[in-house]
Subunit: 146 residues, 2 copies
DNA sequence: TTTGATGTAACAATTGACATTACAACAATA
DNA sequence: TATTGTTGTAATGTCAATTGTTACATCAAA
């Protein structure tokens, strides 16, 4: 199974807001055009980002603004905000092993610790990247394009 | 989204084979009893483990045997064998960003490298654990139980 | 030949992701 | 104040993947 595209879409959204905010009013329609999906998909993700305190969305008039500097928002913050994976539950367990079997009644406990370490390793790596990393590399690329 | 329970089921299977192989003939029915699922689910996973060369399954007579020492099988080997996640594709991308948008046509490339690093961090951690770690902790637990 | 396994196809049930339509609520402005 | 363009959200549809189930051919040993 894969981690929801809400995560990569959210990263796309932040990049667009940063790149275009001085030229255009960045609305859910505008974003949907760049991402090529439905505006409602965007609005749902915006609602999650707003709820996590990463952005504010102007109702009525439209437009998105950041509530923190890009350098203060890590990939992990975004990942968590869009609930790409429910907290602490990257791995799916078979839920009802047989309690009468010595292995069955102990396996979950034994695996939990190790699999949590695996998940934590991934999340730590996500914390290493910030949206300003993304921004600087994107502007570099765009400069080359012209 | 979560990583398929095939992975934790496979770990459960290995533990059962190790713990019970001298007492019982470990069949898909036996395993299904401990894991509390359908024997066919077990057989499908066994087929994947066999295909990866981690076990051999005796057709006709029944029973499972390992083709390597437990210490030579890492969690990653199992994870890969059951195709818990298609190779290199932990993160789901929105597949058709707009090529006419400067951000749209560059975002995928920019993210690929970073998200691959995240995935690799997770996989490296999976390589740190072997089935013999699991075995020794399980026997420890079972000794305490008696 | 019988017995108890595995291998596998076919299909059903469930779940979650993603897409789409529709419309109320809202804020600026003409 | 009426209009306009936007957000928020409910309702519904579609699709794919996971997991579960039944059925049965194939197989190896006793």
């Amino acid at each position: 199974m894969q981690i929801s595209s809400r995560f990569t879409i959210a990263l796309h959204i932040f990049t667009c807001v940063d790149v275009f905010q001085n030229q255009y009013k960045v609305t859910s329609d505008f974003l949907a055009g760049s991402i090529r999906t439905n505006p409602v998909i965007i609005r749902k993700i915006l609602a999650q980002l707003k709820h996590a305190g990463l952005i504010s969305v102007a109702r009525g008039t439209g437009g998105i603004s950041l509530t923190r500097a890009l350098s203060e928002i890590s990939f992990y913050d975004v990942y968590e905000a869009v609930e790409a994976v429910e907290a602490g539950k990257l791995f799916h367990f078979h839920e009802s092993p047989n309690p009468e079997c010595p292995v069955g009644r102990n396996i979950h406990r034994l695996l939990d610790e190790k699999l949590l370490a695996v998940q934590t390793a991934m999340e730590q790596e996500l914390r290493r990247y910030t949206l300003s990393d993304l921004r600087s590399e994107m502007t570099e690329l765009l400069d080359q394009e012209c």
